[in-house]
């Protein structure tokens, strides 16, 4: 049911864990629905230097989280914000229809973390 890429990212997720003193943190999802993702960003001059995640969820949730961190690393926040859930799913060679919502979680995770960064920046 899952593509090789999904299984690979699920089995060996990239960028797992927290970032100490992150520049942006996004927490999305809901344990009631069975998936929660926390995205941590290290950002320098609006470029994402590092991204890490923690995810509670199914195979697709973990794989999309992993892929999302890979996709945004090195990108500007403007570029990262434009990454759609479809882009994450495509980068994984597709997701089963019932699992597309997981890619939405990844998109939202990225956006939430960037929002947090922008909010913090404003407050500084």
């Amino acid at each position: 049911m899952y593509s090789e890429k999904v299984l690979d990212h699920f089995r060996n997720p990239r960028n797992v864990g927290k970032i100490e003193n992150p520049d942006g943190v996004g927490k999305v999802g809901n344990p009631v629905c069975g998936d929660v993702m926390v995205m941590y960003l290290k950002i320098k001059e609006d470029v994402i230097e590092d991204a890490r995640f923690e995810t509670f969820g199914c195979g697709a949730a973990i794989a999309t989280s992993s892929m999302a961190t890979e996709l945004i690393k090195g990108k500007t926040i403007e570029e990262a914000r434009q990454i759609s859930n479809n882009a994450v799913a495509e980068a994984l060679d597709g997701l089963p229809p019932v699992k597309m919502h997981c890619s939405v979680l990844a998109e939202e995770g990225i956006k939430a973390a960037i929002e947090d960064y922008l909010q913090k920046k404003k407050e500084q």
Partner: protein, 387 residues
């Protein structure tokens, strides 16, 4: 490969396949045909009917072959209701039934029937008092499963059915998870209808049966020829029927010994997991349960991700029920037992069978704690270490 999902389906016993084989190419007659080849097939299915009837303490004419447990459940419920709808429009079932029961009741609700879904206690058990109170003068059918496919909890069918019997209400039980695992005597249980499916007890897929107590009205759901005493039309699936007969015969002879063996393995598994992984729970561990089933709740980890990691290691289990694995909702059975959603998402079911070995269980005990540890590291929740 270590297969631990016997509640989802079982491999055919070798002897079952051998019994079926002649009926594909040689004894391939249509049981409706009058000539030798047809009557040979007819005799083969009638012998099976006799054998199954004997196994559950019924009469030959009370067994209707169906294409499986799902069809048997649908036939039992819709068939009864169509036959009795003039007598009332209230139906009772439980909140932990298999989808092949629940979805039928849900569709009947849309058609105007009133359905009471009985609650269960924390351990997944039904209370006869609760049933008693929910019976109305307009109640025409009660359907309660004999054992739950996810938790393995065995319900007090005898007590529940006797309440129905005193009021003359038709009582159906879904015995798909008990047939071949525990002794079933329909007279003892006091049920009017009982469903079973061969692929859950080492028989082939695509065949099951409905026990219909003599005199119980039932409207056929698949119409056509005069097959199955006009309760279910369609050319009989002769090889599969014969296979189910063989599976029943094997169960009759070997069930007891297998039960002991498998129960020991299951208990070893549970004790091993409980002693090595913190913050896990065996659902309904204290309730009367099927000897082969172990539903485990693992805190902070989602079920499918455990399932897939086990699959990477060649260990095949289910996360809740096979049928719901494709859906996103957590198990309705765990929710009915009162577990919150976030806990229910962390379930994994081990269901053992007669081909499992002690080494296989040791292998699982080796591998599974590491998987939980790994996934808890990925999880944003409580960072407890595995011992």
């Amino acid at each position: 490969m270590i297969y631990l999902d016997y509640n989802a389906t079982t491999p055919c016993d070798k002897r079952v396949v051998e019994a079926m084989l002649p009926f594909f190419q040689e004894k391939f007659g249509n049981p409706s045909s009058l000539y030798y080849l047809g009557q040979e097939a007819k005799n083969a299915i009638e012998e099976t009917r006799e054998r199954i009837a004997r196994f559950i303490g019924a009469r030959k004419e009370e067994i209707i072959f169906t294409s499986g447990g799902t069809e048997a459940n649908n036939l039992a419920i819709r068939g009864t209701i169509e036959a009795l709808k003039k007598k009332g429009n209230h139906l009772i079932t439980s909140s932990i039934e298999h989808h092949s029961v629940l979805k039928v009741f849900q569709s009947l609700e849309k058609e105007g029937f009133e359905v009471t879904y009985l609650p269960v206690n924390d351990a997944g058990q039904l209370d006869p008092d609760t049933l008693q109170k929910s019976i109305r003068p307009s109640t025409i059918l009660i359907s309660i499963m004999q054992a739950n496919n996810e938790t393995g909890v065995i319900e007090p069918i005898k007590e529940l059915a006797s309440l129905a019997q005193t009021k003359g209400i038709v009582f159906h039980t879904d015995a798909v998870q008990t047939m071949g695992k525990i002794p079933i005597k329909v007279k003892d249980l006091g049920v009017s209808l009982l469903s079973a499916s061969a692929h859950k007890f080492y028989g082939p897929k695509g065949i099951g049966f409905l026990y219909l107590r003599k005199g119980t009205p039932l409207s056929p759901q698949i119409r056509g020829g005069e097959h199955e005493r006009r309760k279910r039309a369609g050319t009989e699936n002769v090889p599969a029927i014969v296979g189910m007969g063989k599976a029943t015969e094997i169960a009759a002879g070997e069930m007891e010994a297998e039960t002991k063996k498998v129960e020991t393995l299951r208990n070893t598994l549970e004790e091993g997991l409980l002693s090595t992984i913190p913050e896990i729970e065996v659902v309904s561990q204290k309730a009367p349960r099927l000897f082969n089933t172990s539903l485990i709740l693992v805190k902070d980890v989602e079920g499918e991700s455990m399932l897939l990691n086990l699959d990477f290691e060649g260990i095949e289990v289910s996360s809740g029920s096979a049928c719901t694995s494709g859906s996103l909702e957590p198990s309705h059975v765990l929710l009915a037992c009162g577990y919150p959603h976030e806990i229910a998402h962390g379930s994994i079911r081990f269901s053992l069978g007669k081909f499992n070995t002690a080494e296989e269980i040791n292998q699982v005990l080796e591998v599974f704690p590491k998987i939980v540890e790994k996934l808890r590291k990925i999880s944003p929740f409580g960072k407890s270490e595995v011992h």
